[in-house]
C-alpha cells in the first residue's frame, strides 16, 4: 500500500449513551476501492459522515490527503473538500435545481470558467455517469431512484475528486442497474484515478468493484483485507455474512474472488493495523 489517503486513528463516536465506534483505526491507500460492510447499526454511514466532516467524533484523529481535517484551518479544509466527492444514498440533489444545475453548483467555485463551458462540463459529467442526454434538464423529482443516484454521482465527480465517497450506491437498484453501477464505478476509477470509499450491503458490488473490504463490528474495524481473506476470519457475523446464501450466489457469479472457507484464522488484522 502506498501512503494512505485516508487515515483514521482511535475514532470514537457516541450518540448519548450509545457508543457506535470506539478506538476505530482504518487506512485507505491511494487507488484503493474500499468496501465498508457491517450489520445494521454498526455505524457504516456514521463512519463516512465522520470522515467527510458531517459528524464530529468524540475522540480520534482523521487525516485525509495528509490534512488533519479535525484541526485543519478553513483554507486547508476547503482544499480537501474540493478533492473529494460525496454521493449520498438518495443522491441528495438540490430539488429546486435541474440535474445540470446541480452538477454546475460545485463548478461555480472554480474561477474563470465561462457559463457555456460550465454547462458543457456539467453535460460531460452527466454523460460520464451514464445518464441519457435529456436528464440534464429534468428536476430530481422527475427522475427514478437509479437516475437520481447517477445524478448524485455526476455532481460528486464535478470537480474531478481524488477520493469518492459512496453511501449505498446500489441500494434500491434493480440487479441490472446495480451491475451497471458497479461497472461504472470501476470504469470511472480507472479513467479518473480515483480512490473510492464505499459503504454497501451489496455482495456483488464487493465482488466486482472492491479491491479491499473493511468489516465493521464490535465498534471498530474488525478486519480489512480482500474478499478471500474476509472469509477466513473466525467471527460469527463475518462467517454468516461471507458464507450466507447470498454470498454464495455472489461468488457463483464472480468465481474469481471466492472467500476461502478453509483453515480459519483467529482475528489478527486489527492489531497489526494499530498505531
Amino acid at each position: 500500500m502506498s501512503e494512505p489517503v485516508i487515515k483514521l486513528r482511535g475514532i470514537r463516536n457516541a450518540f448519548g449513551p450509545q457508543v457506535v465506534h470506539d478506538g476505530l483505526d482504518l487506512d485507505v491507500g491511494r487507488g484503493e476501492v474500499l468496501g465498508v460492510v457491517g450489520g445494521s447499526g454498526t455505524g457504516k454511514s456514521v463512519l463516512l459522515r465522520t470522515i467527510v466532516g458531517l459528524n464530529r467524533p468524540k475522540a480520534g484523529e482523521i487525516e485525509v490527503l495528509g490534512v488533519p481535517v479535525l484541526t485543519a484551518s478553513e483554507e486547508a479544509l476547503t482544499r480537501v473538500q474540493r478533492a473529494w466527492g460525496v454521493m449520498f444514498q438518495d443522491g441528495a440533489l438540490f430539488s429546486a435545481l435541474t440535474v445540470r444545475e446541480n452538477v454546475e453548483v460545485p463548478l461555480k467555485s472554480v474561477p474563470g470558467i465561462s457559463d457555456g463551458l460550465r454547462r458543457e462540463l456539467a453535460d460531460l459529467k452527466i454523460a460520464m455517469s451514464g445518464l441519457p442526454g435529456f436528464a440534464g434538464d429534468k428536476y430530481p423529482s422527475e427522475l427514478s431512484g437509479g437516475m437520481r443516484k447517477r445524478a448524485g454521482l455526476a455532481r460528486a465527480l464535478a470537480l474531478d475528486p481524488e477520493i469518492l465517497f459512496l453511501d449505498e450506491p446500489t441500494a434500491g437498484l434493480d440487479p441490472i442497474g446495480a451491475a451497471e453501477f458497479d461497472n461504472l464505478i470501476s470504469e470511472l476509477r480507472e479513467t479518473l484515478n480515483l480512490t473510492v470509499f464505499l459503504v454497501t450491503h451489496d455482495l456483488d458490488t464487493l465482488h466486482t468493484c472492491c479491491t479491499a473490504i473493511a468489516a465493521l463490528a464490535e465498534k471498530r474495524v474488525l478486519a480489512k483485507g480482500t474478499m478471500a481473506e474476509m472469509g477466513r476470519i473466525d467471527h460469527p457475523w463475518m462467517q454468516e455474512y461471507f458464507h450466507g446464501p447470498r454470498a454464495r450466489a455472489a461468488v457463483e457469479t464472480n468465481p474469481g474472488a471466492a472467500p476461502d472457507k478453509g483453515n480459519r484464522t483467529p482475528i489478527d488484522l486489527p492489531q497489526s493495523m494499530g498505531n
Binding site: 430539488s95 429546486a96 463548478l107 472554480v110 474561477p111 474563470g112 470558467i113 465561462s114 463551458l117 454547462r119 458543457e120 462540463l121 453535460d123 460531460l124 459529467k125 460520464m128 428536476y139 430530481p140 423529482s141 422527475e142 465527480l157 470537480l159 474531478d160 480507472e190 479513467t191 479518473l192 484515478n193
Partner: protein
Amino acid sequence: MGGFLPSNAASFCKIEEIYRAMLGPLWVAAPQAAPDAVAKRVFRALGKGASLIAQSRCIRGDDVSDQSAPGLALPHSSVDNMLDISAWDEGLVLRGSARLADCARLERALADLTANETHRLDLAGVTRLETAPAYLIARQRARIAAGGGRLELSGAGPEITRMIERVTPDNTGKDIAEAPRPPLAWLEDIGRAVAGSGRDMAELLGYLGLFLTRLTQSLLRPSEFRLTALVYHCHQVGLKAAPIVALMAFLIGIVLAFQGSSQLRQFGAEVFVVDLIAISILRELGILLTAIIVAGRTASAFTAAIGSMKMREEVDAMQTLGIDPAAALFVPRILALIITLPILGLVANLAGLFGGGLMSWIELGISPQMFLTRLLEGTDISHAMVGLVKAPVFALIIGLIGCRAGMAVKGNAESLGQNTSSAVVAAIFAVIVTDAIFSIFFAQIGI
C-alpha cells in the same frame, strides 16, 4: 519523431534549431554524470516551445537503457503543480498538471488554433490531466476536424490518451440552443398570469365543493368522523393561538382608546371613546385582525404540513390505502378552524374591550363601572354579531387556501416554500376582500 541530445555543452547553442527540425519531443541524453546545471541549461536554452521528458534515456556508449535522469528531476518538479502552456509555430506544448482551474487559460490558447490547418499538441510533459481540460482538448480537436484541419496529439501517455478518448463527445457540434424568447413575451406573461389566477379561483371552488361533500359524508357516517384529529387541530389552531390573539387585541384596544381620546377631547366628547372602541373592535378590528393573525399562522402551517406530506408521497400512499386525503386532511383542519375562529374572535373582542377600558380609565378617568354602563347602553348586541358572523367565513377561506396550496406543492423544497408564502399572502388578501364585501352587504341591509 524526437531525437537525442548530446550532453556536451558545446552543442547547446543549437538546441532550438535542432528541436524545431525534429518536430517532436526531445529525448535528452543525460549521462548520469550530467549535473543539475546541465539540466537547467537545457531548460533555459529550450525556453518555450519544447517539452522535455522527465523519463529520459541515458546513453552510455552505444547502450541505450531506460533510466530516469536524476539531474532532470529538479526543473521538472518545479512545473509539476502548474500547467505551462507554450505556443510555437506548429501548435501548443503543455507541461505540468492540467487541472480544472487551468481551463480558462487552456480554452483561450486552444481557441487560437485555426480550424482549417494542421496543429500539433504536445502532451509529453503533462503529468496529470483532469476531465475538464481533457474535454477542452477533445472539443477543440473535434472543432478543428469539422473545419477541415487536424489536431494531432503527441507524446501522451496511455492514461492521458484514455482520458481524452473518454471525454470525446460522441456527436460534435451538438450545442444545445436555447429557445429564443418571442417578442411581446411580457404580454404572454400577463395573459398567463390572468388565466392562472382564474384557474386558481376555479380550483379553490373545487376544493370548497370537495370539503363540503366530504364533510357531509362524514357527518352522515359519524363512525368515520375523525374526532381525534379534529380535537388535535382545534388545540393547534385555536388554543395555541389564543394568547397572541388576546395580546394583539388588548394592544389594539389601548391604541384606539389613546388615539380616540386625544381626538375626542377637542370636542369635549371624551365619553364617546367607549362607543368608538366598542363599535370598531366588535364590528371590524377584533375579528379582522384575528383572521389576519390566524391566516399567517395557520394557513402556512396547513400548507407546510400537507405540502411536505405531498412531497414525501404520503398523500399518494393514503390514496392507495383507500383513505381520502380530503376527508383525512382537509375536513379536520378546516372544521377546526371554523369552530375555533369565532371563539378566537370573541377572545379578541373581550381583550380589546378590556384594553380600551383600561386605557380610558387611565387616560380619561372613565371608571370601569362607567365604561360598562356606557358600553351596554350605547352598543347594540348586533355589532358583536356582525363581527362574529364573519368568523366562520374567514375560517373557511383561510383553511381552503392553506389546504389547496399544500396540495399544489411539487416534489421539491423550493415549491414548498413558494406555496407556503403565497398561501399566507392569498389568505390575508382574501380575508380583507371578504371583509370589504361584508361591510358593503351590512350597510345595504342596514345593520
